[in-house]
């Protein structure tokens, strides 16, 4: 296992490359999904406000 982590002495190049890729790939789906959720919630509030003002 430690041999695997050492990557034949190139651990300091291989693992940062993988780490930054993982982070970037996860963020590039997580952020849009969260933004979509927020946007939907925001619009729900807006529509509800509009409906109540229309009704009164």
């Amino acid at each position: 296992m430690s041999e695997f982590l050492a990557m034949g002495g190139y651990a300091w190049y291989v693992w940062p490359a993988y780490a930054i890729t993982l982070l970037a790939l996860v963020m590039s789906v997580l952020l849009p999904i969260r933004r979509h959720k927020d946007l939907k919630a925001q619009l729900t509030v807006l529509v509800r406000q509009r409906d109540t003002t229309d009704a009164s």
Partner: protein, 254 residues
């Protein structure tokens, strides 16, 4: 309009391109793409990090290929998608094409950034330098600037339609960079080596190393699809926020 009613295929095509149905379709497709993407990543990473043999020349450092090459391929593929959708938007004024182009830009920029950073982390131990101004590296850096320029341009205008057209023209003009990136290693002396997999004859890579590479490339492809759908949904909600179907969507559920 009459024409649309007369031809059922044409009507289906228009329905397919209408924001509400695209929004719904994107929501239904996303989990599938996500699932396939994660499976491919699991397979590709296991193959690339554990099963693939050590390289005879570069030792273990070559394993960066499994993220560097897919990221570089996708950086160009996404730009091609962006340029084609921009052209469609310019010619046919199709709203969805504009949304695809806008949603693709940040994802493509991420792939380009990853290709540059992982390439740098690979270049230091193998070549002996983090960066060199050869034709391949420079043209890939220009690709990053094209993405960033597109995003800046699109957000610089208050009027959405003007912004879309200005961005689309930049995207179409920048497409000339794609053949330059691809052929740079053949047209000029570069430090970067020539193509491995896309050679016309046999790819010069052992099969046990090639299979995980192709899996990773496919995983990145699905990742793009997944991220694109997620962004498209927000883009559609944003641009259609004042329409009745969006009110129905968010309002009448409770």
């Amino acid at each position: 309009m009459n024409q649309t009613k007369a031809n059922p295929w044409r009507r289906r095509f228009h329905e397919l391109g209408s924001p509400p149905s695209v929004y719904a379709l994107a929501g239904r497709l996303a989990p599938w793409l996500a699932g396939i993407c994660l499976l491919l990543f699991a397979g590709g990473l296991t193959g690339g990090l554990f099963l693939a043999p050590t390289d005879y020349q570069q030792g273990e450092s070559y394993r960066i290929i499994y993220i560097h090459v897919p990221a570089a391929w996708l950086s160009m593929f996404v730009y091609a998608v962006m340029a084609i959708s921009s052209a469609i938007h310019l010619i046919w004024r199709m709203k969805l094409a504009d949304i695809v182009a806008r949603a693709s830009a940040p994802i493509g920029a991420v792939y380009t950034f990853l290709a540059l950073v992982t390439g740098s982390l690979w270049g230091k131990p193998m070549w002996g330098t983090w960066w060199v101004w050869d034709a391949r590296l420079t043209s890939e850096l220009i690709l990053l600037f094209l993405y960033l320029g597109y995003m800046a341009l699109v957000s610089a205008f208050d009027d959405r339609r003007t912004a879309s057209r200005a961005g689309a023209i930049l995207a179409v003009v920048g497409v000339i960079n794609l053949p330059i990136i691809h052929f740079s290693v053949e047209w000029w002396n570069t430090l970067h080596q020539g193509p491995t997999v896309t050679k016309f004859d046999q790819p010069s890579i052992a099969v046990s190393m090639l299979v995980p590479l192709l899996m990773m490339a496919l995983a990145f492809q699905f990742h793009y699809g997944w991220a694109l759908l997620a962004r498209i949904r927000s883009e559609i909600l944003e641009s259609e926020r004042r329409t009745a179907w969006v009110s129905d969507l968010v309002g009448h559920r409770s």
